[in-house]
């Protein structure tokens, strides 16, 4: 297929190319909803089966770290939205600045996540690996707490993996924006990677109350 500037050969117009890319990302995100959905399903059932143990286990994770992370991630979503806006109105310098701030906020999030994971390691709360919920917990409680932490690591781990992929995409965007590639006519990559980033944010918006906020009275 021949390329004409930023237009790939299978499309007739740039507008068609942009719409196609955007719809493609949306459809991909709907897949992602169901992908995380399997975990949410597992979570829902186990929480409804073992509400007390889940509540007790939830209380052992550090609330303020999660709360800070929520703010950080929403802020990064804001800067990402601003990047899309900057690229649409052609403010190339602002675009680069917003993209870099998004990346920095994303890295802060991952850093805090790393601290939390380290805490879990110290507390023997990593499932399948010297797991010990609390001294004196009986076999059943220990097993059910391990379920909670399996889900905690499964959900936040999968989320963090998405963050890392997103950070990689952001680095590429920053590189291209430094070359001045994005113009008001052609900014599709900024837009669709923006969609992806917001989605990752949304997943966290649900993970936070589900994992950190069980019966914190």
């Amino acid at each position: 297929m021949h390329r004409t500037g930023e237009l790939s050969g299978q499309y007739r117009t740039l507008e068609q190319q942009r719409e196609t890319a955007s719809l493609g990302m949306w459809v991909f995100l709907s897949t992602e909803v169901l992908f995380f959905g399997g975990l949410f399903m597992t979570y829902t059932l186990n929480r409804s089966t073992y509400p007390d143990v889940f509540s007790a286990a939830s209380k052992t994770i550090t609330l303020w770290l999660g709360a800070v992370n929520t703010v950080v991630l929403i802020a990064s979503s804001l800067t990402m939205a601003l990047s899309v806006w900057a690229s649409q109105v052609g403010k190339k310098k602002l675009l680069t600045i917003f993209l870099i701030s998004t990346l920095v906020l994303g890295c802060v999030f991952l850093g805090i996540k790393g601290i939390e994971y380290h805490d879990k390691y110290v507390e023997h709360h990593i499932p399948g690996w010297n797991f010990n919920f609390e001294p004196g917990a009986d076999v059943a409680t220990n097993a059910h707490a391990q379920l909670f932490f399996s889900l905690y690591f499964g959900m936040t781990g999968l989320h963090a993996l998405h963050m890392i992929i997103g950070a990689g995409l952001l680095i590429w965007l920053i590189k291209e924006s430094l070359r001045g590639r994005f113009t008001p006519e052609y900014n599709t990559p900024v837009e669709i990677i923006g969609l992806y980033w917001h989605f990752v944010d949304i997943v966290w918006i649900f993970l936070f109350p589900l994992l950190y906020l069980i019966d914190r009275h």
Binding site: M1, Q10, Y11, G24, V27, F35, A143
Partner: protein, 545 residues
């Protein structure tokens, strides 16, 4: 110097392995799914030979368990699910809607590579100890107790899921944004409607099995407890999540085949399809309602009576759109001009076999009967009627129908008719006795069985040997025809779709100029360009060009 087309536009291994042309990717898929079909077919043959005697003729119980598991995994995940979408769909969908390619050609190639990686994992599992969990991977057998190579197989199926997802994504977006001018939604060929419906399932179902198998794999590797009752997990949850995808997956297999049949029947009856919008709508209805019936696989797990009643009722509802399709196909034959060409034989065979497969589904959806029939050979016969009698007949029929377009050559018609009839008879002899076996209570997945079941098993094995020949024959003559077949010309049947408006084989960009669609689908009455004797027109010779 022959005319340039997609096959001879460029040469060399690289031009194939790095191609982004949907037609070449379709052929890459054709080769790989055929490979898995013969692997799965070999296992099936061994299974049937083994079951000739009650004690089992050929292998140990352990090996037998691996045979049926690997037969299922190879056939379902690596042949049936990708067969029609990734081969025929890939080749035809862009041409049928008048596009130069799919929306995302590189992602299309990527999905083939993902398929290869997933396939390699599974082959690795097959060759290092095999897999004995059943294709359903039920926990805790798969996640705790099995001693076979479960982890690579689960990872392989998990990876392969992304291949399906990307194919579905590509198709949905392509249908939305890449249609040629004048190609409105209700002018789309029914094959495209079917592919679109299938893609909905790819997109919304496949991720669920991907994450489920990932969890089961993690559970096995790290001794977690999601589905292990000893650690507080629930094995029934695995079944819910598994069937949330795997029941709709049955429609992934059958819907595209229904799409193929909806193309073949009007072409060889030479008249508009009866009830176009009902066939199109029923495809979407099947895809959507098909998602709400999954727990009918779990009527005897101890699930709640109320849930069972709900799922049974919904299962009956999903039968209606399938019935609507069969009625419409049959009515399309009425006052047609019917020919005996091979694709038509496959299409009529499909109707017959799908009819039996679909109707026996009504027995299994019935709560009171399912308790007795569940996990017996009745179920085995039922889903083989749908998947082999339906999906594979559709796939092979479609291959014959579009073979002239794909290769530019005609296959030997007589041999092809012999093969079609052999397949039909062999299939019925193999699987019909299994319905009776099932009602008598013979459980599935048994490497040995009580002697009173032997007569019917011998009949089934005899049929299987005929069936195996029926599959080898097309393999031979289709390959032969690529070199020695007669030149087909752009529109040998003739048919009305856009894919028949371009050369055979098509050029890399499909059309010299983007076509503009001004006619309704299957509208022989208003297509003087096809050179047929249209009612009211003076004679075919006077049709204008």
């Amino acid at each position: 110097m022959p005319r340039e087309h997609y096959l001879n536009a460029t040469y060399g291994i690289r031009s194939w392995l790095l191609t982004t042309d949907h037609k070449r990717i379709a052929l890459l898929y054709l080769a790989s799914v055929t490979f898995f079909f013969f692997i799965g077919g070999t296992f099936a043959t061994m299974i049937r030979i083994h079951l000739l005697t009650p004690k089992g003729l050929l292998v140990t119980p352990e090996t037998y368990n691996k045979l049926f598991t690997m037969h299922g995994v190879a056939m379902i995940f690596f042949f049936l699910i990708p067969s029609i979408p990734a081969v025929l769909g890939n080749f035809l969908l862009p041409i049928m809607i008048g596009a130069k390619d799919l929306a995302f050609p590189k992602i299309n190639l990527l999905s083939w590579y993902i398929y290869l990686v997933g396939g390699s994992f599974v082959l690795y599992s097959f060759s290092t100890g095999g897999l004995d969990t059943g294709w359903t991977f039920y926990t805790p057998l798969s996640s705790v107790y099995s001693n076979s190579a479960v982890t690579p197989a689960v990872l392989g199926v998990f990876i392969n899921g992304f291949s399906s997802i990307l194919t579905g994504l590509n198709f949905i977006v392509t249908v939305h944004t890449m249609r040629a001018p004048g190609m409105t939604w209700f002018r789309l060929p029914l094959f495209v409607w079917a592919q679109y419906a299938t893609s909905i399932i790819f997109i919304l179902g496949t991720p669920v099995i991907a994450i489920t198998l990932l969890l089961a794999g993690m559970e096995r590797m790290f001794h977690l407890g999601f589905f292990n009752p000893q650690l507080g997990g629930d094995p029934i949850l695995f079944q819910h999540l598994f069937w949330f995808y795997s029941h709709p997956a049955v429609y992934i297999m059958i819907l595209p085949a229904m799409g193929v049949i909806s193309e073949i029947i009007p072409t060889f009856a030479r008249r508009p399809i009866f009830g176009y919008s009902f066939i199109a709508g029923s495809s979407i209805a099947i895809a959507v309602i098909g998602f709400f019936v999954w727990a009918h696989h779990m009527f005897v797990t101890g699930e709640s009576t109320y849930a069972a009643l709900t799922f049974s009722l919904l299962s009956y509802l999903v039968a209606i759109p399938s019935a609507v399709k069969v009625f419409n196909w049959t009515s399309t034959l009425y006052k047609g001009s019917i020919s005996y060409d091979t694709p038509m034989l496959y299409a009529l065979g499909f109707i017959g076999l799908f009819l039996i497969g679909g109707l026996t589904g009504l027995f299994l959806a019935c709560l009171g009967l399912d308790i007795h029939l569940h996990d017996t050979y009745f179920v085995v016969a039922h889903f083989h009627y749908i998947m082999v009698g339906g999906a594979v007949m559709g796939y092979v029929g479609g291959l014959h129908f579009w073979w002239p377009k794909i290769t530019g050559k005609l296959y030997p018609e007589f041999l092809a008719r012999v093969a079609a009839i052999t397949l039909f008879l062999g299939f019925n002899l193999t699987f019909f006795p299994q319905f009776i076996l099932g009602y008598l209570g013979m459980p599935r997945r048994y490497s040995s069985y009580p002697p009173e079941f032997q007569v019917l098993n011998v009949m089934s094995t005899a049929g299987a040997s005929i069936l195996a020949l029926g599959y080898l024959l097309p393999m031979v003559y289709l390959i032969w025809s690529m070199r020695y077949g007669a030149v087909a010309g752009p529109n040998p049947w003739p048919a009305t779709g856009l894919e028949w408006q371009t050369a055979s084989p098509p050029i890399t960009e499909n059309f010299e100029v983007t076509p503009e669609v001004t006619w309704e689908p299957y509208d022989y009455e208003n297509r003087p360009d096809l050179g047929l004797a249209i009612h009211g027109a003076p004679s075919p010779a006077h049709g204008d060009d």
